[in-house]
C-alpha cells in the first residue's frame, strides 16, 4: 500500500470585508480519518469548497507528498462530498456510478435496497436515498483522498453504522477528512481532530482543547 500525505495550508477566504478564514490548515494521511470540527459559520465547508475550486479563494496551498497540486484537476486526487446535492437531477444512478468508475452492483451488495434504483434518475430518489448514493459514489471511487462534508446528515439511523464501517474500511488504503456538527459522530470515526476557530485551524489533543476554542462547554 502506498502511503500519501495531503497538506492543505494557508487557506484565506474573504467575502467582501468579512474574513471567514485567515489561516486554514489541515492534513490527512493514508490509513487515517481526520475530523474537522467547528461551530456554525466557522468556515469548515468554506475551506473544502475553496480547496476544491468551487469557491473564489484569496490563497490556498494544496500538496500531496510535498508536491503542489494543480487545482484544475484536483478531482483526480481528492473526491469531495459536499454538504448539498452534488448529482444533477436528471442523471440516472447507474450512469453516475459509471462516470465515477464504480461498479453499481458492488454498491448494491452493501445496500440491497438500491437494486431497484439502477435506472432511476436522482430526482426519483428521496433526499436521504440520494445522499447515501452520493456518499457511496464518492467513497467507492478511486482517489488517494476523500473529503466528506457532513456525511451522516440525512442518513437513516439504520444506515449510519454501515456508513461508519465503510469509512473505516476505505481509510485502510486512503486518507479521509470528515466534518460534521456532531462531535460524537466525528469522534467515533476519526483518528485525529482539528478545530476551526476565529478563522484559524488548530489540532485537538483533548476535550479541553475543544472547550478552550469555544466548540464545547
Amino acid at each position: 500500500m502506498d502511503k500519501h500525505k495531503l497538506i492543505v495550508d494557508s487557506v484565506v477566504v474573504r467575502f467582501g470585508d468579512k474574513t471567514v478564514l485567515s489561516g486554514g490548515y489541515i492534513t490527512s494521511e493514508t490509513g487515517m480519518v481526520t475530523g474537522l470540527l467547528g461551530r456554525n459559520g466557522a468556515g469548515k465547508s468554506c475551506m473544502f469548497r475553496a480547496l476544491m475550486g468551487g469557491l473564489k479563494v484569496e490563497n490556498v496551498m494544496v500538496s500531496i507528498d510535498g508536491v503542489p497540486i494543480d487545482r484544475q484537476i484536483i478531482g483526480q486526487y481528492i473526491k469531495y462530498l459536499p454538504q448539498g446535492r452534488m448529482l444533477p437531477e436528471n442523471i440516472k444512478l447507474h450512469k453516475a456510478f459509471e462516470l465515477f468508475g464504480v461498479n453499481y452492483w458492488s454498491f448494491v451488495n452493501r445496500f440491497p435496497k438500491y437494486s431497484r434504483f439502477h435506472d432511476s434518475a436522482i430526482w426519483e430518489l428521496s433526499g436521504g436515498e440520494a445522499r447515501l448514493a452520493e456518499l457511496c459514489l464518492v467513497l467507492l471511487s478511486e482517489a488517494p483522498f476523500y473529503i466528506l462534508d457532513e456525511p451522516f446528515s440525512q442518513i437513516d439511523p439504520v444506515n449510519i453504522e454501515a456508513v461508519r464501517r465503510l469509512i473505516r474500511e476505505r481509510c485502510q488504503d486512503h486518507g479521509i477528512i470528515v466534518t460534521d456538527h456532531n462531535y460524537d459522530a466525528i469522534s467515533s470515526v476519526a483518528d485525529n481532530l482539528f478545530v476551526i476557530s476565529d478563522g484559524y485551524t488548530a489540532p485537538v489533543h483533548s476535550r479541553d482543547d475543544l472547550v478552550r476554542f469555544g466548540y464545547l462547554r
Binding site: 478531482g75 459536499p82 442523471i91
Partner: protein, 105 residues
C-alpha cells in the same frame, strides 16, 4: 474518461447556455437571410457576448451551489467547462452565419 463522457458532461453542465445560444444563433441566421450586411455580422457577435454573459450569470444564480462538485470530482474544472461551452457556442454562430452569408450574400 472517454471523449463521449466528456461531451456528455459538457452538455450536462452547459445545457441551458447551449439552448439559449442555439435559439439566439437561429434568430440571427434568420435575420441575416433577409438582408446581408457586414455590420450585422459583427453586431451579432457583440450581442452574442452580452447574451452569453447574462445567461452565464443567471445559470450560476439558479444552479445548486454544490452541483459544480460533480464535475470537479470527475476532473473537470469550472473554467474548463465554461471555456468548452463558450467555444462551441461561438463556433456554432460563426459557422451558421458564414453558411447563410455564402448562400444569400
Amino acid at each position: 474518461m472517454t471523449l463521449r463522457d466528456r461531451i456528455y458532461l459538457t452538455w450536462s453542465y452547459g445545457k441551458i447556455q447551449f439552448l439559449v445560444g442555439a435559439l439566439y444563433n437561429i434568430v440571427c441566421a434568420q435575420l441575416l437571410t433577409r438582408g446581408f450586411s457586414y455590420s450585422f455580422y459583427i453586431d451579432a457577435f457583440i450581442l452574442k457576448a452580452v447574451v452569453y454573459a447574462i445567461t452565464y450569470y443567471l445559470v450560476r444564480q439558479f444552479r445548486g451551489r454544490d452541483a459544480i462538485f460533480f464535475f470537479i470530482n470527475l476532473g473537470l474544472s469550472r473554467r474548463k467547462l465554461q471555456l468548452s461551452v463558450l467555444l462551441v457556442d461561438f463556433l456554432f454562430l460563426a459557422i451558421l452565419l458564414t453558411t447563410v452569408m455564402l448562400k444569400h450574400g
